[in-house]
């Protein structure tokens, strides 16, 4: 299978400017800037069916086309490298193994949207990724591939690398923009969307690292080539981060739409020690959990949505039959309770409430009505908040109770008392 995003991974000094250039690096950028118009670039990306690989799966070309070209304000590109979704570790590898692929994508994207400044917001804990990427930026500046008149052409691009401070919510694009502006990472009310009012009040495109890394190959080899790598409406490949109870956990670049069963059993080597599969989180912890019966689903945005889960960030967490699903739910709920930004009442109070409720179930101190109340509590969060974090709490925690209710009930049995 052809590798697109991870083609340089594992090679000696794959992060170096020289090695990237040797392998036809920055050719796509030159091609876009010399032989294409911005709208041709956008059209090409639209045709490639590239979707936002941060988790939302929004068509990238369409997102770019929302930037008002005639606006007198500066436009910005913000690359979201605040990879915080539990179970996800792809952006980190891209930043560390192939940073110039990201920079080339940045150049092309900036050209397409008319931006001269890009910010890369890197998760605070990713110190090595930051150092490597910062080094790549400096190399590119030295080589004249960033800065004024890049590659000898009449186009300026500055890249600023910014380190986050450790909040999951700053991966939400408007929370990220607030944080980048120096404020507390509170997601913004929408509309207006960032394409109209984004960073510093200016039109802004926010794209994930992996999405940006796909841009240069699309320009090099064409939209049709990229689109046919994947499946319908989901172009290309993506990096699946497989962790948990598998023989070979790791990062796998596979076509969009690869069946989950194939990822677990063929690529990741199946469940170890003779155990059987119990559950899978298909796209980072926010994605509703799947049971062992549901793994024939194709791993693309539309197929997963159709069965009530989501492709999310590509973080696949595999759980075998030894897993206590109440414990798994509790860990997920604790994560949400810790990371809720605290802005909207339902999410702020509900995430903590749900966590403490599950904790009592896990500790076997809960009563039957506590379990009966739990789905209602988490249901009231989703859809009623500013950002999608609240929806994630509802969908994620709700799915454990819905699909593994008997395990929750087992922890309550014995506490049933007849005192009314």
């Amino acid at each position: 299978m052809e590798k697109v995003i991870s083609r340089h991974f594992g090679q000696d000094s794959s992060q170096s400017f020289i090695n990237y250039v040797k392998d036809n690096g920055y050719r796509a950028a030159r091609k876009a800037l010399t032989h294409m118009t911005p709208s041709q670039v956008i059209d090409e990306v639209k045709k490639s069916n590239l979707r936002g690989l941060g988790g939302a799966g929004f068509p990238t070309g369409r997102k770019w086309s929302f930037i008002p070209r005639e606006s007198p304000k500066p436009k910005y590109l913000v690359v979201n490298a605040d990879e915080g979704e539990p179970g996800t570790f792809k952006d980190r590898y891209i930043l560390e193994q192939d940073p110039h692929a990201v920079l080339e994508g940045i150049i092309i994207t900036c050209f397409a949207i008319g931006s001269h400044k890009a910010y890369v917001y890197i998760r605070g804990e990713y110190e090595k990724s930051f150092q490597t990427f910062q080094g790549a930026v400096e190399e590119a500046y030295k080589a004249g591939f960033l800065g004024r008149g890049i590659m000898g052409m009449d186009f300026d691009i500055d890249v600023v690398v910014h380190q986050g401070a450790g909040a999951y919510i700053c991966g939400e694009e408007t929370g990220l923009l607030e944080s980048l502006e120096g404020k507390k990472g509170f997601p913004r009310l929408k509309p207006p969307f960032p394409a109209v009012v984004g960073l510093f009040g200016c039109p802004t495109v926010v794209n994930n690292v992996e999405t940006i890394a796909c841009v240069a190959p699309i320009i090099n080899k064409g939209a049709e080539w990229f689109a046919q790598l994947g499946c319908e409406k989901n172009g290309g490949t993506r990096l699946f981060c497989v962790s948990g109870h598998v023989q070979k956990p790791g990062l796998y670049e596979l076509p969009m739409g690869t069946p989950l069963r194939a990822i677990i059993y063929e690529h990741a080597g199946g469940i170890p020690l003779g155990h059987t599969l119990k559950a899978v989180i298909p796209g980072g912890i926010s994605a509703p959990v799947l049971t062992a019966d549901e793994i024939d689903v194709k791993m693309d945005f539309d197929s997963l949505k159709a069965i009530g889960s989501m492709a999310g960030s590509g973080g696949i967490i595999v759980m075998d039959d030894t897993t206590d699903m109440v414990f798994a739910a509790m860990v997920a709920a604790r994560f949400f309770a810790n990371e809720s930004c605290g802005q909207c009442s339902p999410c702020r109070e509900g995430s903590g409430w749900a966590y403490r409720n599950i904790q009592r179930i896990y500790e076997r101190t809960a009563r039957p009505h506590d379990l009966n109340n739990l789905p209602g509590i988490v249901d009231n969060i989703g859809g009623n908040t500013i950002c999608a974090f609240g929806d994630a709490v509802t969908m994620c925690v709700g799915s454990y109770v819905a699909k593994f209710r008997h395990e929750f009930e087992n922890k309550i049995r014995g506490r049933i008392c007849n005192i009314n």
Binding site: E339, C341, S345, R348, N373, G383, I386
Partner: protein
């Protein structure tokens, strides 16, 4: 202009109006905590969610603009369920300490729970404990982090209205807490307003704490007398429990909305300047060391004035009027001393030091009616000259309204004058050093005890209402002068302040066409 339907009622509103504003115009009140019409939209409390046709998710009505043909429901089952659940979430970590909370009775958590909650508690978990309870964050306000629902109204007030930036929300999730920034105190000229806009009991007023339950309070509309801005206020007084707090009647002042004057705000100087209404009052009519009746006091005055009138020596009378008085009082002074008794020197402009001021509401002129006094008294005399003349022995009767002469001119001067004039009359509301030098002390009522109008620095004439009868024997200034006019044989015959105002409108051009009805509760500008 877009047309829309809210709960089956149709309305047309300007583009850009939000659903909550359009609903208000229809008389539909959508519950809200974080929304405040004078502050930027935060959209965080989520209780104002409504159902908009063709939208799968509920929308917050404070932020969603109206659109042509929009159909909104504020009471569909989905909306009611969401509203109830938001309340439930807000109360999850709320201490429910209503019995010891000052906000009780005017708390939006209580109100909305009764109207939209009424669920059985599903909470079996330990509440999150927050650090600061009954914690002083400045000279006037106490913070209770547990009661706070994190609506950020106070944060937005100090960020956008006072621009003093004292407040922030610290930590995240259900450990979020409101606090002042490290090393900062909530200490600006408008601190007290955060208590008004706080929808719950998180921010309470040190001046009001534990004095009175709010349901014992009776509100009376008024105008702040503490400076020339004339901010609109409500005097809140204890109607039925005189034993509750030092026998005081007034428990607090609250700002009252007037978009043309003070919006929703008042300064702290004005807010806390009400204790004089119930404390240290002049309660009895007193001549030298003797308590006397009003009747006798008027005899004494008439006996001093009549001979001067008969001998055409009215220039030996000096009147120090005051911009603390209402337009009505000043008009009666003008009518009595300048028309009926021509030749009397009258002035209200005393050498006062300018007070504190800022660029928002606080004015250096601490009198509520300087603009009115200037128009009505069209003064020829001069307070300084009157005092000089009194010192020289050229004044027989010196009639002083409200001013503390000792504070203005010093003890020695006042002592000297008291020895020179035949009758030094002090008509005041509160005991001060001048009282002891005055021969005749007459108790006047304060603004909360009478009807009338003040003219503020914008030349806006605004009404004050009487909350309760005057303390002791005090009477309104115009009433006292009416009594005097009868004794002098030239009765003024005013039965109430409204009758005086009619006369003002009829005779003083800038007031023409004004009536109490037209002034309503928002006032009218003087004609140029």
């Amino acid at each position: 202009m877009p047309h829309l339907t809210i709960d089956g009622k149709q309305i047309e509103v300007p583009a850009g109006t939000t659903i909550i504003q359009a609903a208000k115009k229809l008389g539909i009140s959508i519950p809200h905590y974080c929304y405040h019409s004078a502050l930027p939209i935060a959209g965080n409390c989520r209780i104002c969610l409504v159902e908009v046709d063709k939208q799968s998710k509920l929308q917050i009505s404070c932020y969603t603009p109206v659109a042509e043909g929009m159909v909104v429901s504020t009471n569909s089952p989905k909306v009611l369920e969401a509203r109830k659940s938001v309340l439930e979430f807000l109360l999850v970590n709320h201490p429910l300490d209503c019995p010891v909370c000052d906000q009780s009775g005017e708390c939006k958590l209580q109100d909305y729970y009764m109207a939209h909650g009424l669920y059985n508690s599903r909470l079996a978990d330990v509440k999150v404990k927050k650090e600061k309870k009954a914690f002083s964050i400045g000279p006037t306000v106490m913070l209770d982090q547990e009661r706070c629902i994190l609506c950020t109204r106070c944060v937005r007030f100090t960020d956008n209205i006072t621009k003093t930036h004292e407040f922030g929300i610290f930590n995240r999730g259900d450990h979020s807490q409101l606090d002042v920034y490290p090393g900062k105190q909530l200490d600006n000229n408008y601190s007290g307003n955060v208590v008004d806009i706080c929808p719950v009991g998180a921010l309470t007023d040190k001046d009001f704490r534990f004095k009175c339950r709010v349901w014992y309070l009776e509100p009376t509309q008024s105008v702040c007398p503490s400076c020339s801005m004339g901010c609109n206020i409500t005097v809140e007084w204890d109607k039925s429990r005189p034993h509750a707090y030092k026998e005081a009647r007034v428990m607090r002042l609250k700002p009252r909305l007037n978009p043309d004057v003070n919006s929703y705000w008042i300064c702290d100087k004005g807010r806390y300047n009400y204790h004089f209404i119930d404390e240290n009052r002049i309660l009895r009519v007193q001549f030298k060391d003797e308590l006397i009746s009003w009747e006798r006091a008027m005899d004494i005055l008439a006996q001093a004035i009549s001979p001067l009138r008969d001998s055409h020596r009215l220039n030996r009378i000096g009147v120090l009027a005051s911009a603390q008085l209402t337009n009505e009082d000043l008009f009666v002074i003008q009518k009595l001393f300048k028309q009926l008794l021509g030749g009397v020197s009258v002035d209200f402009r005393v050498p006062e030091k300018p007070g504190d001021s800022d660029h928002f509401l606080m004015k250096a002129d601490k009198n509520p009616n300087t603009a009115g006094a200037a128009v009505i008294l069209a003064s020829d005399g001069n307070a300084q000259q009157i005092m000089e003349k009194a010192k020289q022995g050229e004044i027989d009767v010196l009639y002083v309204f409200a001013h503390d002469l000792v504070k203005l001119w010093g003890k020695d001067t006042v002592e000297q004058i008291a020895g020179k004039v035949k009758l030094l009359v002090f008509q005041g509301s509160n005991i001060n050093e001048t009282c002891s030098y005055a021969h005749l002390n007459l108790p006047r009522s304060v603004y909360a005890e009478k009807e009338g109008t003040f003219t503020n620095c914008q030349s806006r004439v605004q009404r004050i209402w009487s909350a309760f009868p005057p303390l002791g024997e005090a009477r309104a200034d115009w009433e006292i002068l009416s009594m005097l006019s009868e004794k002098l044989g030239t009765p003024l015959n005013y039965k109430d302040s409204q009758a005086i105002f009619k006369d003002i409108a009829a005779t003083i051009a800038p007031f023409s066409e004004m009536t109490y009805e037209k002034l309503s509760d928002q006032g009218m500008l003087l004609k140029k």
